[in-house]
Symmetry: C2
Subunit: 235 residues, 2 copies
Amino acid sequence: MREAARAAGRSLEQHIRAEIENRIMSGVWNPGDRVPAEHELMIEFGCSRMTVNRALSVLAEAGFVERRRRAGTIVARPRTHMAAIAIPDIGAQIAARGGRYRLDTQAVRRLAASDAPETARMPDDGALLSILCCHLSDDRPFAIEQRLINLAAVPQAADMDFTVTPPGTWLLAHVPWTEADYRIGAVSAGGNAGLLGVDVAAACLSFERWTWRAGETITYVRQIFPGEGFALTAG
Amino acid sequence: MREAARAAGRSLEQHIRAEIENRIMSGVWNPGDRVPAEHELMIEFGCSRMTVNRALSVLAEAGFVERRRRAGTIVARPRTHMAAIAIPDIGAQIAARGGRYRLDTQAVRRLAASDAPETARMPDDGALLSILCCHLSDDRPFAIEQRLINLAAVPQAADMDFTVTPPGTWLLAHVPWTEADYRIGAVSAGGNAGLLGVDVAAACLSFERWTWRAGETITYVRQIFPGEGFALTAG
DNA sequence: GAGTGGTCTAGACCACAAC
DNA sequence: TTGTGGTCTAGACCACTCC
C-alpha cells in the first residue's frame, strides 16, 4: 500500500485522503454513511493511527466528512457550494491576458476622513488619500478604480507618485498580510461611462474591497469593469 | 505555555499557529524574514517537533509562509488576495434575509444535447432537461434561473416536478459532492426584464456554474440577479 | 462503561538543497 | 557534508457521548 503511494509520488496521508475522497465523490459512500473507524482504516492501509487521523482531519476541515467522538465519522451532506477566487493585481490580470498595461491616474487628493462616504467604512477622523485612476489594457479602458487610503495607517503613501505606480500594487507590497471583505455587484456605467468608453446604460461589474490590518483600516477600493469583456472566474 | 493554550480552549498546535500568524499579520515578521527552525520553536513553545511541524505546515498551505528543505521557513510575499465565497441555495439565501421564498417555474422541457448552446459545455449527445424558473422573495422577482440537466447522468430528474421543487435544491441533495466552475459577470436585463420586473437596460449580475462529477457533466445553470438589491459578498 | 476521535510525545529515517 | 523540513511510527492520555 505504502509502496504504491510512494510510487505515485505522494505521501501515504495524501493517498489515504485521495482514496476516501474518491469513494465519496464517486458515490461509493453517500452522505450519512458511516466511514470506518480510525483503527479499521489503520488496518486497511497498514499504517499508524496518526496517519489515518491526519487524513480524516483534513477531509473534515474541507467539509467532506463530519467527525464526532464516540459517534464516529460520517460522510457530510453538502449544504452550499464553496468557491475560492483568487483576485490578482489588475496589472497582472492584464498581462496574463496578453495585454499591455498602462495606468492613467485622473486625480490624487487629500481628504478629511469625515468627508469620506459612509459606505467606505473609513475611520472617523484623520486624513485620507483619495485616488481616481483608470487601468488600461492596450490603451483601452479595462477598469476604473476609486480608492481611499488611510494615511494614519500608511503614512508613506503620502509621498508616493500614484500617477506612475498603481496604488493596489504598491499597497500589496508595502502593507502585506491584510484582512479584507469583498462585495461584487452589477451597476450601470453612469458617470463612469466616459472614462470607460461605454454607454451610460452599459452593465458593469462593481468590485469593492475593504482592507484592514491588526484592527486598523488600511484602504477601501471600488473597481468598475465594463460588463462585456470581463468576468470573475473561480474553480 | 501549553497550560495557557488549554485555558483558552484551543490546542497547542492552534496556539502556535495563531502566535506565528499574529507575528506576521502585525508586522513583527515581514515578508522574506526567516522564521525560526522547527527545533527552535520546539524549545520556545516547549513541545515536540511534530506539533510545531503541523502548525507550520498549515500556515504554509494557507500561504503565510514558504518552506524549503535545508533553506528553512520564510514569511511569504502575498501575491494575490484570496476570497472564499459561499454560494448557498437561493431559497436559503432568501430565508436568511427574512424573505418568504416562492418558486415560479416557467418551462420544463426535454432537449437534445445537440441543441444546447455551446457555452453550456454539455455532452454532445443524449437528452437534457431544460428548466426556466424564477425565484421570488415575498412574491417579488429575486433571480431568474436557466438550467440544463444531463439526463444521462441524472435520469431520476426526468420524473421530478420542478414546478414544486427548485432544481438546485433537489440536485444538491441527490447528486452530492460535485466539482464546479464558476463565472460571475455583469449583463443588461434584456429579454429577462419582464420576468425580473426591471428595465431592459438594468444592470444585472450573471452567475454561471458548470457542474460535473467523476468526469461526467451534471448540470449547467445561469442565474440573473437584478443589480440593485443583490451582491455577492466574501470574506 | 466503553468506543470513538483529539491531541501530543519521543524518536526515527529520508529527501533535498545549500554549502 | 550537513542542516533543514517531510513523513511516519507506536504508544499514550484525555474528552466526549452513546449505551
